[in-house]
C-alpha cells in the first residue's frame, strides 16, 4: 500500500497537474456521481463516529460496571431512575443502544479494515509470486486459491471460529483466511497481463532483483483492480463479521458488535421491543450501502473499458 502512496505523491510538474495526476482525474470522475459522493460522506461520518466513540458516547457499553440490569429494556427516549435518557432505548442488560451501536460500528470497521489490509498484503505476495515465476509455483498457489474459493466463505469462517473460539482477534484471523484468495487471484490476473509488456522486459534487462521488479515496477500497475475488489470486499467483510456474531461464534457477548446486537434483539422482536434489533440493523445496512455506493463508482471510474 505504501507503493500506492508513493505513486500518488510523485512530484509532478505544476502546469500539468490538471491533465495528468491520476488521482485528480479519478477524483473528478468520482464526484460526477452524486450517490457515490453521498456514500463517501456517510462513510466518513461513520468512520469519524467510530474513531471518536469513547469521547462522544454517553456510556461505555463494554464496561460491565457501567451497566445495570435495572435499566434494561427501556424504550427509545425513556429515562432511567438515575435520570439518564436513552435516545435509542436499552437492551436487556441495560446497555445504551446508541453507545452500543457506535461501539459496534467501531468493531465492524476495525475488523473489516484490518482483515482487508492483511488479506490484500498476503494476496499481493501470493498473486504476484504466482504470476512472476509461473510454472509449478503458479500451479500450486492457484490450486490452493481454487480449492479455497470452492467453499463458501461463511462455511470456512464458521469452522475456523468453532475451532479458535470467540474474540475480535480470532474473527480478524478468520476473515483474513477467507479473503486472501480473492486478492491473490485478482493480482495474478492483472500481473500476467503486465508481465508481457515491454517495460517489464526492460526492467529484466537491467538485471534488477526479482523483488525490486515485482514491487517497484509490476505492483503499481496492478493496483486499480485491487481497489475495486477491496471496496466490494470490505462491505462483505463487515457483513460476514455481523453474520458470524449473529450466529454466536464471533465477538464475546460482553463486547457486542452490530451482528451480536441484532441477534440479542431478535428474541425480543415478537414481544415488541423492536429497538434492540432494528437500530443496529439500520446502522449495519447504512454502512454497507454507503460503502457499496462508493465501490460501484470506483469500479466504473477505474475500469478502462467504461472510460469515455
Amino acid at each position: 500500500m505504501t507503493i500506492v502512496a508513493d505513486s500518488v505523491e510523485q512530484p509532478v510538474h505544476p502546469k500539468r497537474v490538471a491533465q495528468d495526476s491520476p488521482v485528480r482525474r479519478f477524483a473528478r470522475a468520482f464526484i460526477e456521481d452524486r450517490l457515490a459522493v453521498a456514500g463517501l460522506a456517510i462513510f466518513l461520518l461513520i468512520a469519524l463516529l467510530a474513531i471518536l466513540a469513547p469521547w462522544i458516547t454517553p456510556q461505555n457499553p463494554y464496561d460491565l460496571a457501567q451497566l445495570d440490569i435495572m435499566d434494561g429494556g427501556l424504550a427509545p427516549g425513556e429515562a432511567s431512575f438515575s435520570g439518564m435518557t436513552y435516545w435509542l432505548g436499552t437492551d436487556p442488560q441495560g446497555r445504551d443502544m446508541l453507545s452500543a451501536i457506535v461501539y459496534g460500528l467501531r468493531i465492524s470497521l476495525v475488523v473489516a479494515t484490518v482483515s482487508l489490509l492483511c488479506a490484500i498484503a498476503i494476496g499481493i505476495v501470493a498473486g504476484m509470486t504466482a504470476a512472476y515465476f509461473g510454472g509449478r509455483i503458479d500451479s500450486i498457489i492457484m490450486r490452493i486459491v481454487d480449492l479455497q474459493l470452492s467453499f463458501p466463505a461463511i462455511l470456512i469462517a464458521l469452522i475456523l471460529l468453532a475451532l479458535l473460539g470467540r474474540g475480535v482477534d480470532k474473527v480478524i484471523l478468520a476473515l483474513i483466511i477467507v479473503q486472501w484468495a480473492y486478492y491473490a487471484r485478482t493480482v495474478r490476473a492483472s500481473a500476467i497481463v503486465e508481465i508481457r509488456k515491454d517495460y517489464m522486459d526492460a526492467a529484466r534487462c537491467l538485471a534488477l532483483s526479482h523483488r525490486r521488479i515485482m514491487f517497484r515496477h509490476l505492483l503499481p500497475n496492478c493496483v486499480p483492480p485491487l481497489i475495486v475488489v477491496g471496496t466490494v470486499q470490505i462491505a462483505q467483510a463487515i457483513a460476514l463479521e455481523a453474520t458470524l456474531s449473529f450466529l454466536g461464534v464471533g465477538v464475546p457477548i460482553t463486547e457486542p458488535s452490530l451482528g451480536l446486537l441484532i441477534a440479542n434483539g431478535y428474541d425480543y422482536l415478537l414481544s415488541g421491543r423492536y429497538w434492540v434489533s432494528v437500530f443496529p440493523g439500520i446502522a449495519l445496512v447504512v454502512t454497507i450501502v454507503a460503502i457499496n455506493l462508493m465501490g460501484d463508482r470506483m469500479r466504473d471510474v477505474l475500469n478502462p473499458r467504461l472510460q469515455k
Binding site: L64, L67, I69, G72, G248, P252, D267
Partner: protein
C-alpha cells in the same frame, strides 16, 4: 403393514374426513425424542412422550409425589426387600395381560439396551433379585438399603414381554436374565407392533423430524384422556414455535420464551406456569491454587477462601435477575431444590449486600479485586447467557472483573468437565424430586465409581458432608432421611461451596379452551391436557 394398522389408518382417515377437529390435539414440542424405545435414553424429552405409551409401576404427580400406577401398593418388608402389588386386569396395547413377568423382563432389558447415550441402568443398579410370588405380586431385593427404590421404579418403562419376543418364563439373575428371547432393537420401537405398553395412548406413527402421532387406547385401565388423537410436532426454535401457536398450527406449546408471554396473553392465549425442580447455580473451582482463568491474585486461587465465595453470593441481586432478565418467571433460590420439596430446610435466600461483599473481599486480602472468567452455556437454560452477563455486571461492580465465556451446550459441558472454568453457571433438575439428587451430583466429593460428585468439576469437597449424605442414602425412614439431607445441604451452603441463583419457572401456552396442570418436572404430558371448552360436551 399388518391388517390392524391398515384398519387403524382407515379409521383415522374416516375420522379426519368428518372434520372432528375438537378431538385432536396438536402440541409443539421444543425438542424431539431421540428414540421411541422407552428405555433407550434417560432424557426428559423422551420420557414425556413415552409416559403416554408406556407406564411404570409408580407414577409421579405434578409435584413429583409418588402415586400408584401399574403397582397399586409397595412396601419395604425389611431394609433390602420390597413387595410390589401389581394392578390386575390391565392389558397391553396388543391385548396381552400385564403380569409380574413383564416387569421382570422390562427391568432385565434396561442394562441390555445397545448404544444408549444415557442409560436408565443407574436406576436398576441396586436391584439384586426379582421374583414373582404370583402373577400380581413382585418381590425385589436390593444390594443394600435403598430408600429411593420406589422413585427409581418410576423410571422403569414397562414393556410387553410378549410383544418384545420373550420366552414364556423370564427369570432374573444378577448377571443377565434368562428367557429374554431375541431383544428388540431400539429402532424396532418405531413400529406400533413392538411399541406396546399399557398407557392411555398407542403409538400410531413416528416420523423423525416431522411428527409423532398417538391414538387413544380405548381399553385403558385408568381415566380415559380427553383426546382421540394426539399429534406432537418438534419445533425447536422458540420464535417459530410461538408463531405456530399464534397462527393456529398447533394448539399448545411447551417452553414459550418468557419475553413473549405478555403478548400471548394479550392475544387471549392461556399461559400456565409453575416452579420447576431446576436450580440455576454457580459452581467454583476448589481443587487447588492452580485455577484456570483467574488473574491478578499472584497465582493464588481466591475461590478457596470461603469469604470470597460468600462475597460472590452477596454481590448478586437475585431479585433483579428474576424481575428484569427472567421476566418474573423464576424465583430467587436459597437452596438446591425449591422448598417444600423433600430434603429442603426452608433456608433464607442470601441477601443482596454489595457493601458487605466488598468488605469480605477486603478481609480476604483482595481489596483490589481480581479478574475471572465466568463460563455459561448459551442455549440450555432459560435466558442463560443474559443471566450470566447480569451476574458478571454485579461481580464487576464489587471489584471482581468478570469476563463471560458463553458457548453452546455441547461445547460448554465438555469444557466444564475438563475443568476449563474457574466459575461457571449451570442448572440441575432433580429427576427424583428430592434433595439427594443435587447433593450426590453437585457437592459430594468426586468419586465417579461410586456415582458421587459426577457433576462436581470444581471438586468441592467436605468429608463431613460426604459421611452424612452416605448415611442418608441408606436410611429408609423418611423423616430421618430428610433431616440428614437438610444437614448435608446446610454444610455446603454455609461455606458457599455452591451458590444457588434461582429456580426456573416452566410455562406452557395453549389456545383458550384447554387446560394443563403445570408440572415441576417440566414434562408436557399429552394425556393430562384437558379440554375445558364448551364443545367438549357434545
Amino acid at each position: 403393514m399388518t391388517l390392524r394398522t391398515t384398519t387403524l389408518a382407515a379409521a383415522i382417515l374416516a375420522v379426519s374426513a368428518h372434520g372432528a377437529a375438537a378431538q385432536e390435539l396438536t402440541i409443539g414440542l421444543s425438542s424431539e425424542p431421540t428414540s421411541m424405545d422407552p428405555q433407550f435414553h434417560n432424557l426428559a424429552t423422551n420420557t414425556q412422550v413415552r409416559l403416554n405409551i408406556f407406564e411404570s409401576l409408580i407414577a409421579q404427580d405434578p409435584l413429583q409425589g409418588l402415586e400408584p400406577s401399574l403397582a397399586t401398593k409397595w412396601e419395604a418388608l425389611d431394609d433390602t426387600t420390597w413387595r410390589y402389588s401389581l394392578r390386575e386386569g390391565v392389558e397391553f396395547h396388543d391385548g396381552t395381560p400385564f403380569t409380574a413377568r413383564d416387569v421382570i423382563y422390562s427391568v432385565c432389558r434396561i442394562p441390555l439396551v445397545e448404544n444408549s447415550p444415557s442409560s436408565f441402568s443407574i436406576y436398576t443398579q441396586s436391584v439384586t433379585d426379582m421374583r414373582a410370588e404370583d402373577d400380581h405380586t413382585l418381590i425385589i431385593e436390593t444390594n443394600g438399603p435403598n430408600p429411593l427404590l420406589p422413585v427409581e421404579s418410576s423410571t422403569w418403562a414397562i414393556l410387553s414381554a410378549d410383544a418384545s419376543g420373550a420366552e414364556d418364563t423370564v427369570t432374573f439373575t444378577e448377571d443377565g436374565c434368562e428367557g429374554m428371547g431375541t431383544l428388540p432393537a431400539s429402532n424396532d420401537f418405531n413400529s406400533p407392533d413392538v411399541a406396546a405398553g399399557t398407557g392411555p395412548y398407542m403409538l400410531d406413527e413416528f416420523t423423525r423430524g416431522s411428527q409423532i402421532v398417538l391414538t387413544r387406547n380405548e381399553d385403558y385401565w385408568g381415566e380415559a384422556p380427553d383426546w382421540e388423537r394426539i399429534v406432537m410436532r418438534p419445533i425447536t426454535s422458540a420464535g417459530p414455535r410461538v408463531a405456530a401457536l399464534l397462527s393456529g398450527d398447533v394448539d399448545m406449546i411447551e417452553s414459550p420464551p418468557i419475553q413473549d408471554l405478555p403478548r400471548l396473553e394479550d392475544a387471549n392465549f392461556k399461559v400456565v406456569d409453575s416452579l420447576s425442580n431446576r436450580i440455576i447455580y454457580l459452581h467454583m473451582y476448589h481443587q487447588d491454587h492452580d485455577a484456570p482463568g483467574i488473574e491478578g491474585t499472584n497465582g493464588e486461587n481466591p475461590l478457596l477462601d470461603a469469604k470470597v465465595r460468600e462475597a460472590i453470593s452477596l454481590a448478586i441481586n437475585r431479585e433483579a435477575i428474576v424481575e428484569r432478565i427472567m421476566g418474573g418467571y423464576a424465583e430467587p433460590a436459597g437452596e438446591l431444590l425449591p422448598p417444600p420439596m423433600f430434603g429442603t430446610s426452608g433456608r433464607a435466600v442470601d441477601a443482596y449486600d454489595p457493601e458487605r461483599a466488598q468488605a469480605l473481599l477486603a478481609e480476604a486480602g483482595y481489596e483490589d479485586g481480581f479478574k475471572i472468567v465466568l463460563g455459561t452455556p448459551n442455549d440450555r437454560y432459560i435466558n442463560d447467557e443474559q443471566v450470566a452477563q447480569a451476574v458478571a455486571q454485579m461481580l464487576t461492580r464489587i471489584g471482581i472483573e468478570t469476563e463471560v465465556d458463553a458457548s453452546t451446550a455441547s461445547q460448554f459441558f465438555s469444557r466444564r468437565n475438563d475443568q476449563e472454568f474457574p466459575i461457571y453457571m449451570a442448572g440441575w433438575g432433580a429427576a427424583s424430586g428430592e434433595m439427594s439428587s443435587p447433593l450426590k451430583s453437585l457437592v459430594a466429593s468426586y468419586d465417579p465409581d461410586a456415582g458421587l460428585g459426577v457433576t462436581n468439576p470444581g471438586r468441592y469437597s467436605n468429608p463431613e458432608l460426604d459421611s452424612i449424605l452416605k448415611e442418608a442414602m441408606v436410611t429408609i425412614d423418611d423423616d430421618k432421611r430428610s433431616q440428614l439431607l437438610q444437614k448435608a445441604e446446610s454444610i455446603a451452603l454455609d461455606e458457599h461451596g455452591i451458590i444457588p441463583l434461582h429456580y426456573e419457572r416452566t410455562a406452557w401456552a395453549m389456545k383458550p379452551g384447554l387446560d394443563y396442570e403445570p408440572r415441576v418436572d417440566q414434562y408436557t404430558l399429552a394425556f393430562e391436557v384437558k379440554d375445558v371448552s364448551d364443545e367438549a360436551q357434545d
